[in-house]
Amino acid sequence: MSWGGNTIARSLALVTVATGVAFVDWGFRPIVTTLAPPKQDEPGDVTMPPVADGDEPAPFDANTLGTEIGTEDAYQLWLGGMTTFIDARPQHEYVEGHIPFAFLVPPDSLGDGRLGEMMELGGVFPEMRVVVYCEGGSCDASHLVALNLQDMGFTKIHIDVDGYPSWVEAGYEIETGPDAVLGELP
C-alpha cells in the first residue's frame, strides 16, 4: 500500500465518522453542556428582599430571573445581599477590580478544587443563589464555571452576560485586591 491521496482521503473519512459520532453524543448528553434554568425559591428558603429602584418602588423578584441576566438584575441581586458572586476572569484582572465580595474562580483553577474551597471557606452552599460573570460578551469562562457549579448541585445559577466591564460602566461599586477569603492563586 503506498502513500498518497488514498491515505489522506481515509484520514478525512475517519475524522468525518468521529465528528458525526461526536455530534450525536453531544445531542444525547446536553445536560453536561447546558445550564438548567434557575429553580425558584421555595418556602423556607432565604427569599430576596424587594429593592426599590430610584423614586418608583419596583419590587424585585429574583424568582423571575432566567439563567442569563444583565447588569441591572445582577446589581439588584447584589443589593439584596443574599447572592454569591463569582468572578471567572483571570486573577490579574480580578486584582485590578471586581464586584465587591465576589469570589475569584477562574476556569483554569477548577481542577484545583477552587469551588470546593469556596464552599468550605466562603460558606457557600448549593442551595444558594449564585451569579457568575467574566469579561462579558460571549466569554466562555462564566459558562464553564456555571456548568461546574451545576455538577456540584447548585440549582440557582445566573450568568451576568454583560460582565464586569458593563458593571464598571454603570458606575456600581467595585473592590480591588486579591480574594480576601480564598486567597491568591498560585
Binding site: 489522506i8 481515509r10 484520514s11 461526536a22 448528553r29 469562562a141 456548568l147
Partner: protein, 144 residues
C-alpha cells in the same frame, strides 16, 4: 477520560486561551477531539486504515504539542495539559510544560513508522492486502 467528562475537557481547552471566546466553538470541540482520538485509536489497534489513523493521531499530537508550546511561551498562562484526562503517562500531573511537549514528540515518533510503512503483520490492512493479492493471483492463474 476526556469523553466521560466533556465539561472538564472544555474547561481544559479554555485554559489554553487559544480559541477565541466564542461559546459555540468550545463545546463541539470538547466532543470532537476525544471521539476522533477514540475512533482513530480503535482503527489503529485493529490495523484498519492504520496509516490514515496514525496520520490523524500524529497530526493531533503535533497540534497539542504546539498548543502546549504556545502556553509555555505566553507569560501569565498556567494550565494543566489535560492530555490524558485524569491519567498521566510520562509527565507528572500539574502545569503543562516541556515534559508534555517531549511526551507528545515521543508519541509522534511511535506513530511515525505506522505512518510510513503501514500497520504490522497482524492487522486488518495486511490481511486485506493479502486477500487482494491472493485473488489477483487466482485470477491470473488460468491465463498462465
Amino acid at each position: 477520560m476526556k469523553l466521560s467528562d466533556p465539561v472538564a475537557f472544555a474547561t481544559s481547552i479554555n485554559g489554553f486561551k487559544i480559541l477565541p471566546h466564542q461559546h459555540g466553538m468550545l463545546q463541539p470541540l470538547a466532543f470532537m477531539v476525544p471521539w476522533t482520538e477514540l475512533v482513530c485509536a480503535a482503527a489503529l489497534v485493529v490495523g484498519f486504515w492504520g496509516r490514515s489513523a496514525a496520520l490523524v493521531l500524529g497530526g493531533m499530537l503535533a497540534v497539542f504539542a504546539a498548543a502546549v508550546v504556545s502556553v509555555i511561551l505566553r507569560p501569565g498562562i498556567s494550565v494543566e495539559c489535560g492530555c490524558f484526562g485524569k491519567f498521566t503517562l510520562l509527565c507528572p500531573p500539574g502545569e503543562a510544560d516541556w515534559c508534555n511537549v517531549i511526551q507528545n514528540g515521543i508519541l509522534i515518533a511511535i506513530a511515525l513508522p505506522v505512518m510510513i510503512w503501514g500497520p504490522g503483520l497482524f492487522s486488518w490492512d495486511r490481511w486485506a492486502e493479502h486477500r487482494c493479492r491472493m485473488a489477483r493471483a487466482e485470477a491470473a492463474e488460468p491465463a498462465a
